[in-house]
Amino acid sequence: GAGVSQSPSNKVTEKGKDVELRCDPISGHTALYWYRQSLGQGLEFLIYFQGNSAPDKSGLPSDRFSAERTGGSVSTLTIQRTQQEDSAVYLCASSLGGRTFSNQPQHFGDGTRLSIL
């Protein structure tokens, strides 16, 4: 498809389990971003990739969170030993990337709704 694709769309898991979320960006977009939106909150930045490298991991809330990107395309966000406060919608976005971001809107997927029981 032409847009950002995320899977699964919904994930319910038990506390303590590991989860893996997938993002397939728009073809040709070199920049990829992960955000999350908790109930009643705005979008919170997690991590950004330019190509396969992650120059900015400042938003990852704990060392239980990690992300990788291979081949400059698909990215996975992994949450280990999930906690109830990890429940949120996890959104991925992509943009053309490059040296400056100002004129390159980020395009979002529909997100993965993660529920930790």
């Binding site: 009643g40 909150q41 959104l91 943009s95 809107p105």
Partner: protein, 112 residues
């Protein structure tokens, strides 16, 4: 501390009238501002943006105004339509950093 604030969680407007959505920011280093629209169970959709060197940008029914001295921007929708009913997020970024800083959103309801 929130760098981007949308102080009105909701707004209700009659169809055909103007909708004005407001956003305040604290970081004077932001050099680009964007508005996104979000329907339930969908990702945010880019609507319109403005560079910090401009004070107005218009795209059809949507106009964004920027007042740098007041660190305030607003999105005007004229005329409002029922299909405009959604949550609107204001976002900001610095050109040297890729991540967007979002406000908490304003839910717009346009009544027929």
């Amino acid at each position: 501390d929130q760098q981007v604030k949308q102080n009105s969680p909701s707004l209700s407007v009659q169809e055909g009238r103007i909708s004005i959505l407001n956003c305040d920011y604290t970081n004077s280093m932001f050099d680009y501002f964007l508005w996104y629209k979000k329907y339930p169970a969908e990702g945010p959709t880019f609507l319109i943006s403005i560079s910090s060197i401009k004070d107005k940008n218009e795209d059809g029914r949507f106009t964004v105004f920027l007042n740098k001295s007041a660190k305030h921007l607003s999105l005007h929708i004229v005329p409002s339509q029922p299909g405009d009913s959604a949550v609107y997020f204001c976002a900001a970024l610095r050109g040297s950093q890729g991540n967007l800083i979002f406000g908490k959103g304003t839910k717009l309801s346009v009544k027929p």
